[in-house]
Amino acid sequence: MDLDVVLRVIAFVGAVVVGLSALQSLIAEWPKKGLDDHVTKVMLALLALGCVIVIFVAFGIFPGIAGPTKG
């Protein structure tokens, strides 16, 4: 199998698992009121956003400067 396909599958599966974990943690963190809790919420939301970006990359929606045929 082409290495690019393997990397895209790994990136997609990893992004789904980590993204769902981040969202689950964000929901659990939501009722907390401390300053560090608020910062953690922002961080988890951005982490989930990062996973969405990786999913888009894995599907080729964001082809990137390297292009889908260059790894």
């Binding site: 992004a15 982490l47 990062g50």
Partner: protein, 198 residues
Amino acid sequence: MATHALTVDDATYQEVRDQRLLGFLFFLISDVIIFSSFIYGYIYLRSTAMAWPPPGIEPAALYMAGVNSIVLFGSGATMHYAMEFFKHGDKRKFVGYMIATIILGLAFLGGQAFEYFNLLHAGTTWPSSIYGAAFFTLTGLHGFHVFIGVIFLITVLIQAQRGTYTQQRYFGLTAGALYWHFVDVIWVALFSLLYVWK
């Protein structure tokens, strides 16, 4: 230090903790400013360049970076779980998730080293082009932060094992977790700018 920290009453500890937290957040904000300066420089250089990357310069591999990103993001998730298990008094799972976080952090650094090796082998070096200079500066600065973060996490893990932190008093762990999340979030911006932005 640990003995001293445990002798103060809860109200005093809370006040000191809040001040430490604010100070640590100011530190993170100062780090955001440093990264923002470099990111601004990258955007300026890129938007004024005729071609990006310059002709003949091999760009970094996208999908390898995607997998490496997920390794780092995964470490953010394990760090969060480690904190939660510590707060709930499950030391065994806390240690397990902390070790997983450290291993994932080291794996990210290994992935970055592999990427550097491939790029250098392909002729994309720091002085070869403005692309190389910008790429290695930004990813190198971030990689240095990850390296410091790994040392930070190893330190707080050892402290936790020695009993420095309790379920009520664990500021060092909170700072370690916030720093690690910060390193994750900066990578979201860098990955988008350096690899995804076409």
